[in-house]
Amino acid sequence: MLLALIALAFVAAALGAPLVVRCVRRWTGWFTHRRAVAPPTAAYDPGRERRAEQRARQLLRSCVNDVEWAMYRDLGFIRVAGRKARSESRPGAGPSAPAPYAYLVYPLKPIVAYVPGTGRLLSEYCVEFPDLTGGGATRLPPSDDVLAKWMALTSDESRVIGSANMHLVGRQHDCARVRRDLWRLSEWERRGEGTSASLRTRPPA
């Protein structure tokens, strides 16, 4: 009896072996195929964004003047004079006359327009520079974002302002914080880190 059972088991194993081999082959083939077509996952590099920002800061520094760079380094934003302030054809405006308006350029935040003479906040302009050509991240490093805004404002102000969404200050910026930044800027200039008289900022009332 036992002998007969063992013989039956051998027969069953012999008959089932091709099925088992086929299943194993199919499974291993599917697994290797999956490994072959799976996209390579880049190892997480915690220093990548930091290195990108370091490069962006160097590029920004090489483009703006010393005062603007010191302002960004010390205060975290750059002031850019409005087109009318930059143009030399302002009848009756002496070198010490306050500029009509200027912008505060923050990294990855809206541009703020204000009146340097009074510190009055005018509006904020939400503008981004999304890079849609790659498949990954679209946001520039913070200092590249500042440089892009600076280049756009100093070269074609109306174009960049025209493509921005305009809001009253307070939508994305905290008004109190912007006023505090203007006070910090005026103190920074008072200490002599400064700039031309025409853009000198008075602390907001």
Binding site: R48, E49, R51, A52, E53, Q54, R55, A56, Q58, L59, S62, C63, V64, N65, E68, R86, P110, C126, V127, E128, F129, P130, D131, L132, T133, G134, G136, A137, T138, R139, L140, P141, D144, L147, A148, W150, M151, A152, T154, S155, D156, R159, V160, S163, A164, N165
Partner: protein
Amino acid sequence: MHSQGPLTEESQIKFLRMKPGYGEVLLTEGDPRISEDEELLIAEFRRQLDEGMWAAVPTEQPDGRREALLVRDYAEIPPQAERVIFFPRAAGG
């Protein structure tokens, strides 16, 4: 096409592009007075604008002010420019 002259380091122009996650990357560089280089520069310039980039040349005024000049065509690049920076065009945020 520019006239041929003595090749110096200053005559090289670099095309840089701001890239998310990288900072700026060097696209190409060359001497615009050499016709082969100029062809490559023109091709790269057009490719970047076709991808929707803006091109700007940092400039310095005689009074020390620094500004940028947006260029929409290769011919608009000032002859003394050392670099052109390509960056994504502005969009409302």
